[in-house]
């Protein structure tokens, strides 16, 4: 089988290496986006359905028991959006954690979320002896509301 490679073989190999280099090149530029940051969203028009990723700002979480609405703010450090949602996030939801929101921009700095996906930070730490898993902010609010009346 020590023939000279035929032209079609060369074409196949050239196409394969082209595809490989193209994919590596795309990996380096990583220009394809999956979600917007608050700063990126600020320059987009109102009304477009997007995914928004941000950190839940500390002290911003409010629960309106009457309308069953959750309000909080997400930030990327420079821009902050006020989020309104009727969706209940998981127990992991808390201040300072990253969330991906699906929904639409409904004002200059406000966002209406149809879904809240709590993004895991990929930091794993064991519970220390004597510690318990801290409840999420929403659980704290709900517990406080039940205690108050």
């Amino acid at each position: 089988m020590s023939r000279r490679p035929r032209p079609a073989t060369l074409l196949g190999l050239a196409l394969l290496s082209g595809a490989f280099l193209g994919l590596v090149g795309m990996g380096l530029t990583s220009a394809l986006v999956y979600y917007q940051t608050p700063t990126e969203l600020a320059s987009l028009p109102v009304g477009r359905a997007v995914r928004l990723y941000g950190i839940v700002a500390s002290g911003s979480v409010r629960w309106d028991a009457g309308t069953k609405t959750l309000r909080f703010a997400v930030t990327d450090g420079t821009t902050t959006f006020d989020v309104t949602t009727q969706n209940v996030p998981t127990a992991l939801f808390r201040e300072g954690i990253g969330v991906v929101l699906e929904g639409r921009k409904n004002g200059r700095r406000s966002f209406l979320a149809d879904a809240i996906l709590v993004k895991h930070s990929s930091v794993y730490e064991p519970l220390r002896p004597g510690e318990t898993v801290p409840p999420g902010v929403l659980q704290q609010i709900l517990a406080g509301k039940e205690a108050s009346p």
Partner: protein, 225 residues
């Protein structure tokens, strides 16, 4: 004669046969029209939603046309065992693969023109100067779809479950091509054409990957019984 001249000759043969029967164009055009009408019924009076779905619908209709057409191009030679003759006559059998890819890509390009025209009329697709950017997207997507389909039809065609396995094997492999085509079409017609370039590059990489693999392994897939 070298392999590329053989491929061009074979592609011309398939295209001439297709041009004379014109069955494929009529079938795919009707298929597209039916898909659009059903979608328009589902969307109701919401024109904006319909317009947003238009790129996906167009490419989905094209995908089904690609499956049907690849099947047809394969059967055309298999039926009277012309394939075995080609197999023995050719200096490099991969000319069959290259020829089929070329012929299918040309047919798919024409189909895209038809389906796009239908989408403008039936789905209220906005038409502007930027629609010209669709041309490179269409070419790359047609080549990617053709390179993948011709290879897969050789596999599915040799099995006992041709009609079941064709879409089952082809759809997952076509997802990147399809996704890139839909996203870049949406980017061109709805938002920023610049965003389409990235998707175009992804689409091209997929097309090159499958065409390259196809050239290297086609002989193993298509050996006649």
């Amino acid at each position: 004669m070298n392999v590329f001249a053989d491929a061009a000759l074979l592609a011309a043969k398939d295209l001439r046969a297709e041009l004379r029967s014109r069955g494929a164009l009529v079938a795919a055009g009707t298929l597209g029209a039916v898909a659009f009408v059903v979608a328009a019924m589902a969307a109701g009076p919401d024109r904006a939603q319909l317009r947003q779905l238009a790129p996906a619908l167009t490419w989905l209709a094209l995908l089904y046309a690609a499956i049907a057409m690849a099947d047809r191009l394969d059967l055309v030679d298999r039926r009277d065992d012309a394939f075995s003759a080609l197999w023995l006559a050719l200096e490099d059998r991969r000319a069959i693969y290259l020829g089929k890819v070329l012929a299918l890509a040309v047919v798919l390009l024409v189909l895209q023109g038809v389906l796009f025209g239908l989408a403008v009329v039936l789905l209220d697709l906005p038409l502007s100067g930027e629609a010209l950017w669709l041309a490179p997207v269409a070419v790359v997507a047609a080549l990617g779809a053709a390179a993948t389909s011709v290879l897969v039809v050789a596999l599915a065609g040799a099995s006992g479950q041709r009609t079941l396995l064709m879409p089952l094997l082809l759809l997952p492999l076509m997802v990147p091509v399809l996704l890139a085509a839909v996203e870049s079409t949406g980017a061109i017609l709805v938002s920023a054409p610049a965003a389409a370039l990235q998707w175009l590059a992804l689409s091209a990489a997929q097309a090159a990957l499958f065409a390259g693999l196809g050239v290297l392994v086609y002989e193993h897939a298509a050996t006649p019984e």
